[in-house]
Point group: C2
Chain length 283, copies 2
């Protein structure tokens, strides 16, 4: 279809790209229109490779060559705008000069993700078989942390991720960006029922491990892992809820230096903890 | 001395606290005046416990009770300002209502940090003995990443950190904040000479490991660690310089999932990689 130049930031064809730093506006806009954004050439290509259908592309003028290349390979509109228009529209400098809006697809069911079943119409890689190593994210609030945890999980070979109902959205722009597209590379589902969600995972034969800094928890190095393991991670500030801690088969911790603990450095941030836990889980 | 109320954001006594989000202004201001800032009660207390000398404290009015408590235990001035003045002065909402400015102290020499010698006048914990596990950070540019790496290193029991000349400052406000005060809990030094700095570390008997995503590198799980090990981490974008990679005794990698690599998810961010590496290094 070729590219379309637009110079008016109020042009309705650019509505998918307004005020990208306004989290509450973006949340409702993206939910209501069933879209998500990818930023930068690599991430955009990973979304396309994973099978997500583009609504449109937006490039700044200096990316005209890449825009032309994209236009030759898609039926979606490809908009070219001056840098200043892109910045006025989105509310920040679009450093890599490339954004794309994609249609969301319905998420698979938790049972399908755990069974490694490919759901018709759901993008992403075909699972290799039933999931053996799974992360369960309770109420992470920071989109960057969600993206970083997905990147760890994907890179280290975790098979799937299950989200609690209130966990931050992996397809939010910042999650996608920080994950470097890993949110497209690992199957995930969102449980509908926070209270009973863990019981469903256990019913599939998973050992439920709760990651916690509590000194009374079992050291990760000493845990005998079952054939199927689901590792639960809690929110940045408060960790796992007491209900989820009680539901777990075993609380596990990453061993800390005694000297550091005496200085008050007694925990890791959630991404560092997730990285070590995923590494321990998948070796 | 009690607390001092100030309502004029242009009051020169508040000059340490101006425009905290203006990185280039803050870099020169803090270097020229030899100061750094801590934010939030926990971090401020950790800086004091580590022996840093306060220049002044700044609290918003709703933290008046804590401000009074601090004033009773310090000779430094304690300023109380309305929320709006704090925000106008610093350029952002001071969520926890507590800031403090501290005098920097000269950093110890690399040789002293490696030997575990306490340097007179240098704050921080007394080292337990010669360092056995050390991180060497080349050119990390993101202050948050530097803080997060220090937090991992401290929590997991790394003995010391050595910085390349251009690595971002661990005492920059954001580094301090993200580290949760771990930058005060672990001895560190900055090498003066990027080109010859690694040779000095090797001369102290350290095995030099270069962390890299290169598939040809040795898996961390297969490395036989020497008595003294220095692990090198490179910058967020490009990793280690080719000079440092060549200087290393051994390139090491964290094993990645083959399936993820086929999807293009072939690396971890520097904090996740540092977390796994510190964990492997100190077990």
């Amino acid at each position: 279809m070729g590219t379309t130049e637009i110079t008016d930031p109020a042009d309705p064809r650019l509505a998918d790209y307004v005020r990208l730093r306004d989290v509450s506006l973006r949340r409702s806009l993206e939910a209501e229109h069933g879209l998500f954004l990818a930023e930068g050439e690599t991430t955009i290509e990973r979304a396309r490779t994973a099978g997500y259908r583009p609504r449109s592309f937006l490039f700044t003028s200096r990316r005209a060559a890449y825009a032309g290349h994209v236009a030759a390979s898609t039926d979606a509109p490809v908009y070219l705008v001056p840098d200043s228009v892109a910045e006025g529209l989105t509310g920040f400098p679009v450093h890599r000069g490339a954004l794309a809006s994609f249609h969301r697809r319905r998420l698979p069911e938790v049972a399908d993700v755990l069974a490694g079943r490919r759901t018709a119409g759901v993008p992403g890689r075909a699972p290799a078989g039933p999931a053996r190593r799974v992360l369960v994210l309770e109420d992470l609030v920071d989109h960057g942390n969600v993206g970083a945890v997905f990147r760890c999980a994907a890179a280290l070979g975790v098979d799937a991720v299950v989200l609690a109902p209130r966990c931050a959205d992996p397809l939010y722009r910042r999650s996608v960006k920080v994950s470097m597209g890993a949110v497209f590379a690992i199957p995930y589902a969102r449980m509908a029922d926070w209270h009973g969600g863990l019981a469903e995972i256990r019913a599939h034969g998973f050992q439920l491990l709760a990651l916690t800094p509590a000194p009374s928890a079992c050291s990760f190095d000493d845990v005998a892992l079952d054939e199927r393991v689901a590792l639960m991670l809690g929110s940045e500030g408060d960790g796992l809820s007491s209900h989820w801690l009680e539901e777990a088969d075993l609380p596990v911790r990453i061993p800390m230096s005694a000297e550091a603990m005496s200085m008050g450095v007694d925990s890791l941030n959630v991404v560092a903890a997730a990285a070590i836990a995923c590494h321990s889980l998948t070796r």
